[in-house]
Symmetry: C2
Subunit: 335 residues, 2 copies
Amino acid sequence: MTSAKRVTLTDVAKLARVDKSVVSRVINDDDRLVIKPETRDRVLAAIQELDYHPNAAARSLRTAQSGTYGLLIPDFANPIYAEIIKGAEQAAAARDTVLLTGTVNEDHPERYVRMLASGRVEGLLLASDKLSAQAIEALRHTGRPIVSVNQRVPGVERMILADDERASALVVRHLTDLGHERIAHIRGPRNSDTARRRLNGYRGALRAGGLTPDPALVAGDGYTSETGAEAMRELLALPEPPTAVLVANVAAAVGALSAARQLGVRVPEDVSVATIHDIPLAANLAPALTTVRMPLAEMGRQGMLALFGEDSGSGRTVVRTETELIVRDSTSARA
Amino acid sequence: MTSAKRVTLTDVAKLARVDKSVVSRVINDDDRLVIKPETRDRVLAAIQELDYHPNAAARSLRTAQSGTYGLLIPDFANPIYAEIIKGAEQAAAARDTVLLTGTVNEDHPERYVRMLASGRVEGLLLASDKLSAQAIEALRHTGRPIVSVNQRVPGVERMILADDERASALVVRHLTDLGHERIAHIRGPRNSDTARRRLNGYRGALRAGGLTPDPALVAGDGYTSETGAEAMRELLALPEPPTAVLVANVAAAVGALSAARQLGVRVPEDVSVATIHDIPLAANLAPALTTVRMPLAEMGRQGMLALFGEDSGSGRTVVRTETELIVRDSTSARA
DNA sequence: GTGAAAGCGCTAACAT
DNA sequence: ATGTTAGCGCTTTCAC
């Protein structure tokens, strides 16, 4: 029906009775263009009338810029990425560029290389640790800008990090303030950068509080509710179980809560539980979880700015420090 | 360092000592190309050696195809979209096309129109009800294919729907089987198509079970945990409260559980609760939620196929019927 | 103040 | 079995 063949710059120019170069310059707000107001109006009217939209491919070909950036995440089901995406999308929209968010498919890393090398996307925001060193190297080889978010990636020098160590420390400090001394940690995956930093923060804060880290009180190896549940069972089975647990992420905390419940262990009466990342779910669990809020959306935003080359950091690591402890019902004073 | 200026078809042709058209046809596996194996090998070797990647913009300009499709969702934080995205991404990857997933920003609907009209994306998968009728009309006006997923959108004739009515009916039937007669419904937003269909299914199933729908037992107007909590409080405050509640979605169910807990009402002993969409969270709540599994990923996949024009449905509504009741701990026989 | 012309990198119809 | 050619629709330098 409305299949009127595509309108081009030439059509607009013809209708406005000017050259297409003039139309182009009007569209792009060329400063150096001197034009009579009435001519400009005629051009704008023609654009309106024909419902003209510049062809993205032609423009990209000419300018060698696609106005598109990529954001790679491991899994849309993990709510922390929703926040990062939100911030990145916002920054992209503000620059009138397009953000292409996708999950990393470990089977076909060459897809991402092709995207960069073909110019389809101009730069990449890396929020996934699911890429092989080989794939990273291939991406780097394209020469396009790459920024990692929420994690350190070997070979990628620009990164936006949260202060994961401080997040752990805030929780440990909160727990020691409540009188806890046997504070356990359900850690994330061994190969995860964030998990390692959270573990470091946990250990450091214990020492800072005059406590000695006990290896027996560190369990777990994953970011899922299954790993969290298993680690919790392990900890509760200890001869001398912890009175408080810092869980590395919310998913694992959900599992930990569930495991405690099944064992008849009450939270927080018998054991306090706290975790990192204040996603909405945390407030709705039973009991509502004490968490640490991290500036995830802001990190997404900063990552995009770094891609645009608009950040001040000029290639250095940026650690966002706006971490904040949110105390809810899952932590209480030691009995 | 590796900033060697971009490699073009011409460079490859020169190195392989053939014409660039030959290289192009080799790359695109042109059937009608007759070529000596050794020549083809020379071309492939040159491509390897120069690490050549075809320029996406030039190709798009020439073929008038971008190989990119858009998927519009209302919110990445809602886990049901993670499933839809997963299916859509998979279908896109299988066709070697790119999927651009983004959230609908009600403030700037013209962004999506531009994307379609500029040829940046070839078609749109609509999983959001956040677009105005006006915006939809503008999108339709581009003449590009549009398919809606998980909802009916006025003006969009191709759609992939779940059987929301049946989902409600499965729950109601489960509850009546357990002996419940006062079965309430915490409904979704009034302007939501899925919410309306779930309400219809609820009413129909009550009648089919010989029960008379009681308007007082329908509360709520939203898909958030806040609206769910408020509706639950309202229902529990009735002179004769329900013994079972069908909540329209998981988020509202989380709120409903939380409200019941705060009021000292036990689930399922005092009131049974069930909801629609079996996302992983449902199994990890306390108590684990009885839900209905819907083929969300499959719907995303089918939506993409419809965009590609590969579906059998040829423009008709498709209702997926693979809904399945998952009974967990939040429903039990009436006391 | 406006127009002419070249060319971005590719594909496809048509030579040879 | 391979080469020639003509654009796709746009931006930009330069000319008038």
